[in-house]
């Protein structure tokens, strides 16, 4: 059967996730919710709207996307690192008749899935706090963005978890590269705040395409083509990169 190994790995991750689901959800919802309360409500009196959108609603889609892609990244990175360096279970996987693709795809599924349920958890809470309306078709495109984003970040996580041998290094990548990339791409402020000279480059970042595009798609249903195209190109490139990097590293 094709992808037998990938489904086996995904099955394993589901069992493990099921055991700790509640505490994981609590932990993962905490930080975007804090940001939402601090900025969305705390600054309510100071920022009334951005581009005609109430601020709390302006930041909501980005916080949901951020939760999803961060969860995907962390799952990819830490689980790859853990299986490779701590438990050495990757060695066990590699003496069974599954392929390198199976391992990377299996981890991709897991990251994708984790991103999905954690994003939904945050979304539900935000929607309870701030009811806002949008057409169902917008939600569909928004999910497309999140799906591609989770895929890209899951692969990125896999690559980091494959290359880094030390846990500190992984933590550092997250604070020095991943978080700035996410914050730079206009979750909390409109991209028009950037100086005009910088803006074109910022727009080329896949993270900008992801967060800015996802918000526009959800709130207005406009301007989704270019960012979607950028993400659609980035996703398979990241996947190929993840496979190549992983393959190279484990062959020593």
């Amino acid at each position: 059967m094709m992808l037998r190994g990938a489904t086996a790995i995904f099955w394993r991750d589901l069992i493990v996730l099921r055991r700790s689901l509640l505490s994981e959800l609590l932990a993962v919802v905490a930080s975007p919710l804090t940001l939402y309360l601090a900025f969305g409500f705390g600054l309510k009196g100071y920022i009334s709207s951005v581009d005609g959108v109430p601020y709390a609603i302006f930041i909501a889609p980005g916080l949901i996307s951020m939760t999803a892609v961060l969860a995907a990244f962390e799952e990819g990175a830490w689980s790859m690192w853990f299986h490779r360096r701590v438990q050495k279970t990757i060695e066990e996987y590699r003496v069974t008749p599954i392929t390198v693709y199976d391992i990377v795809v299996g981890k991709l599924f897991s990251g994708f899935f984790q991103g999905g349920i954690k994003g939904v958890a945050v979304a539900i809470i935000i929607f309870i706090l701030t009811p806002f309306r949008f057409p169902l078709a917008h939600l569909f495109i928004y999910l497309l963005f999140i799906g591609l984003g989770a895929m890209i970040f899951s692969c990125l996580g896999t690559i980091c978890g494959t290359l880094m041998d030390k846990p500190e290094a992984l933590g550092r990548i997250q604070t020095v590269v991943i978080m700035p990339l996410i914050f730079m791409s206009g979750i909390f402020f409109p991209l028009s705040s950037y100086p005009p000279a910088v803006l074109p480059y910022i727009r080329l970042l896949p993270t900008t395409a992801l967060f800015e595009g996802a918000r526009l798609a959800l709130l207005s249903g406009r301007g989704g083509i270019l960012p979607l195209a950028i993400l659609t190109v980035t996703a398979p490139i990241m996947f190929a990169l993840a496979v190549v990097v992983f393959n190279k590293k484990i062959e020593e």
């Binding site: 394993r12 438990q87 590699r94 003496v95 069974t96 008749p97």
Partner: protein
């Protein structure tokens, strides 16, 4: 019919260090094969190449006629692997560890449910099937790793230092288990315990610095390489004077002293009389012959320097 295992000039270099050096070998089906060597001899590197987790720098090896270089996936269907370090999944229960392995081998659940229960029974882990490996003793963890390697009924089982770090009871229990497997599969194990090799293996190769030094059954190696006329002798007094005296005797080929106790290798049986004649009557506390041991063969071949 291809042999169970065939190595042809298998070589692995780490930079300038040659860990396995043009290793060639044929192992027949149904053999319990023991690879002996001190730390750093290259045993683990060799097993990693044979189990397809490491690519040889040169040469190739064939498992039941399939190349580890070009038919890795097919090879992995045929082999079971017990690595030097336990690599159990600590977030899965004992039983789930086995189920995951079965799924990776594409075994349908109707087939693995029974065989996994049997394996847990056989390894004495049935009562702990739903516990996490973290809570197991070293011996139990090792047995679980062995059980996992058997889930898909491999034709060839690789065990890298299966009993290192276990207490004597656990070691013997594991030996018993390995013995029961020999009728069903070829077994390739590495060890630096001589008693393990002596009691388990039909055939032994001693390796060091990436090369095979000798090859044969335990009995063959002992009779071929261990000097047959070894005696232990203890004197009551004047040990230092006796040492000088014995060293001067031409029939003594080798001599070690630890306080009053000597370990003496003689040229032949007749030499014993000459040796005894040189000792004053009443000075002997004890004298006995020493059975040649595999350990002696091993030390003679690989030297006594401690390996890191």
């Amino acid at each position: 019919m291809p042999s169970a295992l065939s190595l042809q000039g298998l070589t692995k270099r780490y930079g300038t260090l040659t860990a396995v050096d043009r290793f060639s070998l044929e192992v027949e089906r149904g053999t319990v094969f023991g690879l002996l060597g001190p730390n750093g001899a290259g045993k683990t590197t060799l097993i990693k190449m044979l189990t397809t987790t490491m690519r040889p720098t040169e040469g190739d090896a064939y498992i039941e006629g399939r190349s580890v270089v070009s038919a890795g996936r097919r090879v992995r269907e045929l082999i079971g692997v017990v690595p030097q370090e336990n690599n159990l999944d600590r977030y899965l229960t004992a039983r789930e560890n086995l189920v995951l392995h079965a799924r990776m081998h594409g075994i349908p659940s109707r087939d693995y449910v029974r065989s996994i229960d049997e394996l847990l029974e056989l390894t004495g882990l049935a009562g702990r099937r739903n516990d996490f490996p973290d809570t197991f003793s070293g011996g139990m963890q090792r047995r679980l790793v062995v059980a996992r390697a058997l889930v898909h009924k491999p034709r060839l089982l690789f065990l890298d230092e299966p009993t290192t770090g276990l207490d004597p009871q656990s070691r013997r229990a594991l030996w018993e288990h390995i013995r029961t497997l020999r009728s069903e599969m070829t077994i390739f194990l590495t060890t630096h315990y001589m008693d393990e090799a002596d009691s388990l293996c039909d055939r032994i190769v001693i390796m060091d610095h990436g090369k095979a030094l000798v090859d044969g059954s335990a009995t063959e190696l002992k009779s071929q390489f261990a000097p047959p006329h070894i005696y232990e002798l203890e004197v009551k007094r004047d040990a230092e004077r006796y040492e000088e005296l014995f060293r001067a005797l031409p029939v003594v080929t080798s001599l070690e002293r630890d306080k009053e106790a000597f370990r003496i290798v003689l040229k032949d049986e007749e030499s014993l009389k000459l040796l005894l004649d040189s000792i004053r009557s009443g000075d002997i506390r004890k004298i006995c012959t020493v059975e040649p041991s595999l350990e002696q063969v091993f030390l003679d071949l690989t030297g006594k320097a401690v390996r890191e």
